[in-house]
């Protein structure tokens, strides 16, 4: 097995607020191999975005990483200083966000924005930066790159804006792209095009992608492996096929049953009873037990550790499968 490009190990992030301490991320662990698309999926508030930002060293105030390691090429990013992170951000790890129209600065041309990023990371002059930008626009399938370069963001459509964001992210040769809900704000056909583009870029440029989403459909379509997050940690992970079609964790099963499916037409949609625990007061033991249909005594006391289920790396953190739970 190759060495992972990125591995997040036992990450804890909390926010100290006036209302109390919010435990946003609680022992998050996953890894991404070179050239892989890894889906991080989960309900709103389970710590997906905060984890993505933590990889770039950008956990927003008043949040802080209190434990864990984030290894990129084996080096712990949490120990890098500001200078080093300004080189890594956008240079080796790039991030794109949900709403492309809000992610572009309205008072600068698209060309000036992408050139600024390229010139920050590579020692090139204005003309070379422009050439690189135009090549980047071409690579993400934007028609008439020269016109795009001159345009202001509001002159482009949402799909084009997200392509521009992807071009910007990759123009400096990033190896890892963190895409936080990249298609949520776009309509369905454009969404499919952007996902196809991400897939092509992975194939063509070998870029690895951390795809953050709450949409299992998106995961099924694009991801090689997936991690299902609940209350700030991964409850089930593995190759997409294993997790989606041989799911083991009651939460994953609940998520899948909540999906609208043609075979279930006419029946009422299932939804998981109860609600996501707030990071303010997490239940002791397994965070899912208050909503779990198969809750046991041990679940209330002990947080389950991930158990390896097979040779392809399907793991689940649930006492139904843990050694402690079998006793």
């Amino acid at each position: 097995m190759t060495e992972p490009l990125l591995s997040v190990e036992d990450l804890y992030i909390r926010f100290k607020t006036y209302a109390g301490t919010v435990h946003a991320v609680n022992g998050m662990s996953f890894h991404i191999h070179p050239g892989e698309i890894f889906g991080l999926v989960g309900e709103s508030g389970c710590g997906k975005s905060v984890t993505g930002l933590a990889v770039l060293g950008m956990v927003p105030y008043p949040g802080e990483v209190i434990a864990g390691r984030i290894l990129f090429h084996g080096e712990n990013l949490l120990q890098k200083n500001r200078r080093e992170m300004e080189q890594i951000r956008g240079g080796r790890i790039a991030m794109i966000f949900q709403d492309p129209s809000a992610s572009l600065n309205p008072v600068f041309t698209v060309g000036s924005q992408i050139s600024r990023i390229i010139r920050h990371h590579r020692r090139v002059d204005r003309h070379e930066a422009r050439a690189l930008a135009l090549a980047g626009f071409e690579a993400v399938g934007l028609p008439d790159p020269a016109r795009i370069f001159r345009a202001y963001p509001h002159e482009l459509s949402g799909g084009m804006q997200q392509r521009v964001m992807i071009a910007m992210a990759l123009a400096s040769g990033a190896e890892l792209l963190i895409a936080d809900e990249p298609t949520t704000a776009l309509d369905v056909t454009i969404q499919a095009q952007i996902l196809a583009l991400l897939n092509d870029l992975r194939a063509a440029q070998g870029v690895s992608i951390l795809l953050i989403t709450h949409d299992l459909g998106v995961v099924a379509e694009t991801c090689d492996r997936v991690g299902v997050a609940y209350a700030g940690s991964i409850v089930e992970t593995g190759p997409t096929a294993q997790v989606l079609y041989q799911m083991k964790h009651p939460y994953t099963r609940g998520l899948l049953e909540a999906l609208p499916r043609p075979s279930h037409r006419g029946k009422a949609l299932q939804s998981i009873p109860g609600s996501v625990p707030s990071g303010l007061d997490l239940p002791s033991g397994c965070p899912f037990w208050p909503r779990c249909p198969e809750v046991m005594d041990i679940c209330r006391e002990q947080k389950p550790l991930p158990t390896r289920l097979d040779e392809v790396g399907h793991r689940v953190a649930c006492h139904l499968y843990s050694r402690e739970g079998q006793r």
Binding site: L53, L56, M58, M85, E86, Q87, I88, R89, G90, G91, A94, M95, I96, F97, D99, A102, S103, L104, N105, P106, V107, F108, R116, I117, H120, H121, Y152, H154, M165, M168, A169
Partner: protein, 340 residues
């Protein structure tokens, strides 16, 4: 609409505004119950002298005729004669306007150079020590009485430290040994253009205290205005995206965010500028600076209406052009702004 079409239309509007303002000021100046002809003649005049002066000044004519005659004169560059001093107004303006402009421009420059960076940094570090300090500075700047601040500065920098001159625009020795040849009438600029370094330094030293005294109010406004728009802009996704792309924080704040946040600050600065043209009177008095504020105040006190109308027109011209400039600047900064 093209930019030139827009400018042309705005200039046409400006003419309309100027005519309206001139009519209003003219009427107000004439309606004020007083007798300019008597003032013209001097103390204890006879009836004949007053009547003769009234004829000479055209005050016996119907109002509209007085106005038309006045406007015709102005358009041919003749601003008339001050009733109080009997001096041609144009000659007075050539002295007082550049002096005021030099003072006010220097003050605005200070507001930009001090207020904008402090506003940006306190907006970026909301709640930080710097933010609390700049809050104090801006409250002090906005609320401290001008004359008091001016006197304090004189006391400290002139009396105590002996670093800066007390008042005036140029030292007497310098005006004798290396006189400034007037080009614009702004001494620092004229001395600079002529390469007259001795006079330049002297004029600049004279300028610092009054300009700073004048600047404290706009500095306070600029800090607060820039700070609050920066706080808003820094919440935006494109700032997060820029940081995620590794753009250094300095560039994020002073280029990427500031360009989005600058427009309200420019408006505040523009309005302060116009206000200070005649509103700097206290500074002018304390620092013996022969400016438009003192000039027009004297004119108001002696009902010297040709001067009042002329100064009002000059200020209106500035107001109109500054507003046009602000609109164009806003459109140049933000491509989503349409000119109409």
């Amino acid at each position: 609409m093209s930019r030139w079409e827009y400018i042309a239309r705005r200039l046409l509007m400006a003419v309309v505004v100027l005519i309206s303002v001139s009519i209003i000021t003219f009427l107000i100046a004439r309606v004020v119950p007083s007798d300019p002809a008597a003032a013209w003649v001097g103390p204890r005049p006879t009836q004949e002298q007053i009547a003769q002066a009234a004829r000479q000044l055209g005050l016996d004519r119907p109002l509209y005729e007085q106005y038309l005659r006045y406007m015709r004169d102005i358009l041919t560059g003749n601003f008339g004669v001050s009733i109080r001093t009997h001096q041609p107004i144009l000659r007075d303006l050539r002295v007082f306007l550049p002096a005021t402009l030099e003072l006010v421009l220097a003050g605005m420059l200070m507001a930009v150079l001090i207020g904008i960076p402090l506003g940006v940094l306190s907006g970026a570090g909301k709640g930080s020590l710097l933010d609390h300090l700049t809050r104090l500075v801006s409250i002090a700047g906005v609320s401290m009485p001008t004359f008091w601040l001016g006197l304090l500065l004189q006391l400290f920098f002139f009396s105590r430290l002996g670093l800066l001159p007390l008042s005036g625009r140029l030292s007497t020795e310098i005006s004798l040994t290396s006189p400034v040849v007037p080009i614009t009438g702004m001494y620092t600029l004229d001395a600079l253009v002529a390469g007259n370094w001795v006079a330049f330094k002297d004029a600049l030293w004279h300028l610092i205290l009054p300009a700073f005294t004048l600047a404290t109010y706009p500095i306070g406004l600029t800090i607060r205005m820039t700070r609050s728009t920066m706080i808003e802009v820094l919440q935006e996704k494109y700032i997060l995206a820029a940081r995620a792309a590794g753009i250094p924080e300095r560039t994020v704040l002073f280029v990427l965010a500031l360009k989005n946040a600058i427009t309200p600050t420019l408006t505040v600065l523009g309005l302060s500028f116009v206000y200070s043209l005649t509103g700097a009177i206290l500074v002018e008095v304390i620092f013996a600076w022969p400016g438009l504020g003192s000039y027009v105040t004297d004119a108001v006190l002696s009902v010297d209406f040709p001067v009042i109308v002329s100064v009002t027109l000059v200020v209106t011209v500035f107001y109109v052009f500054i507003n046009l400039f602000l609109d164009l600047a806003q459109a140049a900064i933000d491509p989503r702004v349409t000119l109409q």
